[in-house]
């Protein structure tokens, strides 16, 4: 049933994401063409105005994609579980945990797609000669050619095990994608238990949770600072820090998941 739920959610979310993705790619291509035209023609006021307008639209769509990644996932969760659509979703013969997992996976997947689309649009913008020019400019401005220090050399000299660090970092990035959505899910699940102003309450709860997490982060920072007095530990301080952050995120993420599941299962408060 998880597969069926995933398929249903993938389609339902796709209709919201796809127009944005197509818009970004389309305007990236238009921007690229406009840049080529501007480079190869005499200065024209009309062309500059057209280019300016297209650039503004392009930037707005890019901002929409950046924001929409998680927002659409949260909107879909709220709409299909806690509003009138909840009468359909919550009476399907499936586990409530499957409902959460399917929406979570689709949310993370589309967030990753958003980043890929943004990367592709960036590549289209600076492809070919412009890409080379841009890289050259970057090298010169940071003086990389003169100092002969590559990022890799710097990393290897700074930490003991780069491979381990990159692995933890990759897992951490994936965990953060799940975690961010789960915090919203639990906030909306708790907010739904109220009889009035559910959305407002959900947002307040989300802010409260984020503030609590800030305190926890501060605690982690103090702990890592204390660890770095030890010489051996200091050598591994990046890995230890990342591992602690990962553990905290996984634990809190799981708590968010189980609380959300418990509320949907036993405390659902549909109008």
């Amino acid at each position: 049933m998880l597969g069926k739920l995933f398929k249903t959610e993938f389609k339902a979310s796709g209709r919201l994401y796809l127009p944005l993705f197509i818009g970004v790619i389309f305007f990236a291509i238009v921007e690229r063409i406009m840049l080529e035209i501007l480079e190869n023609t005499d200065d024209s006021l009309v062309l500059n105005i057209v280019f300016g307008v297209i650039t503004v639209i392009f930037v707005l769509i890019i901002i929409s994609v950046c924001v929409s990644g998680q927002f659409i996932s949260i909107y879909r969760f709220y709409k299909s579980v806690f509003t009138d659509e909840g009468y359909l979703t919550n009476t399907l013969p499936v586990k409530s945990s499957s409902i959460i997992i399917s929406k979570l996976l689709v949310g993370v997947l589309y967030t990753v797609f958003s980043y890929i689309v943004l990367f592709v649009s960036g590549f289209i913008m600076v492809a070919g000669d412009l890409l080379i020019n841009a890289l050259n400019g970057l090298k010169i401005s940071y003086g990389i050619e003169n100092t002969q220090i590559s990022l890799m050399d710097f990393a290897i000299s700074s930490i003991v095990n780069l491979r381990l660090t990159l692995t933890i970092l990759a897992v951490l990035i994936i965990a953060v994608l799940f975690f961010n959505i789960l915090v919203f899910y639990v906030a909306f699940a708790i907010g739904n238990m109220a009889n009035r102003k559910k959305v407002l309450l959900s947002i307040i709860i989300y802010i409260a949770i984020i503030n609590v997490l800030s305190f926890i982060s501060a605690g982690v920072a103090v702990f890592v600072d204390w660890l770095s007095w030890d010489n051996v530990l200091r050598m591994n301080v990046i890995n230890i820090t990342l591992a602690i952050i990962l553990a905290v995120i996984v634990v809190i993420g799981l708590v968010c998941f189980f609380v959300t599941n418990k509320i949907i299962k036993s405390k659902l408060n549909l109008e």
Binding site: A12, D84, V94, L268, E271
Partner: protein, 232 residues
């Protein structure tokens, strides 16, 4: 007749408000039951508990001998008083969804009923009137070969002509081995199709009798009895 629904000491509270108070109830297969009561009497709460949308504070609730869960959701076909079909869908999308999730969904029944009501497969839900959405929901719900149908105000939002069609749909499409529980205020409209009547007030069971018993004992119709019992 075997039992399809059983409540024993069923209690549901919302904070300090008692919506259902120690309710004992039993419903047999092959019956159409009218669940009647004034506003706030606990009808929708009882239906939501059976549908698995709420959890009781105490007491036992079983459908076909099973506690409420995934298995009972497979057996129960529920029509809420809200329109729940997502607006972005077309008729074909929601049909596919029902076909995907409910093993007992009968596609031929849907086709026939949609045809009778002139609803097209590619019609957008967003463009439908509230009444048409309600009819579509009822068609979907009655197209399942379920064991227990829960219909919460199935005729409230539609015109009188459509009401007749809906009632005919309910009578002709439910599995004879199943039971149908209809909650409504429009008693006169449904009285002729009912076998049993359950009246609840303030979460307590007031009357549970057959329609024939009510007529024989009180000499009144169900509608007249309701007005007498719940006179303000």
């Amino acid at each position: 007749m075997s039992e399809i629904l059983k409540c024993t000491g069923l209690t549901k509270k919302y904070g300090s408000l008692v919506a259902l108070n120690n309710l004992d109830l039993s419903v047999n297969k092959g019956q159409i039951i009218g669940l009647l009561g004034p506003n706030g009497s606990g009808k929708t709460t009882l239906i939501k508990l059976i549908a698995g949308l709420l959890k009781q504070n105490s007491g036992e609730l079983t459908v076909n001998g099973e506690k409420i869960g995934i298995n009972t959701k497979k057996m129960v076909s529920y029509l809420p008083e809200r329109t729940y079909i997502p607006d972005w869908m077309r008729v074909i999308d929601i049909i596919k969804m029902f076909e995907n999730f409910y093993e007992d969904f009968n596609l031929e029944k849907v086709k026939t009923m949609l045809d009778n009501l002139g609803i097209k497969f590619n019609q957008r839900i967003k463009a439908m009137s509230k009444g048409t959405k309600e009819k579509l929901q009822l068609i979907l719900v009655m197209s399942r070969e379920a064991q227990l149908y829960l219909l919460d105000e199935p005729i409230a939002g539609v015109d009188p002509a459509a009401r007749d069609y809906i009632l005919r749909t309910i009578i002709t499409n439910y599995n004879p081995e199943a039971a149908v529980i209809i909650s409504t205020h429009l008693i006169q409209d449904i009285e002729t199709v009912l076998d049993d009547v359950i009246m609840i007030q303030n979460g307590n069971l007031k009357i549970h009798k057959t329609v024939d018993e009510i007529r024989e004992e009180s000499g009144k119709s169900v509608d007249e009895l309701f007005r007498e019992v719940f006179r303000c």
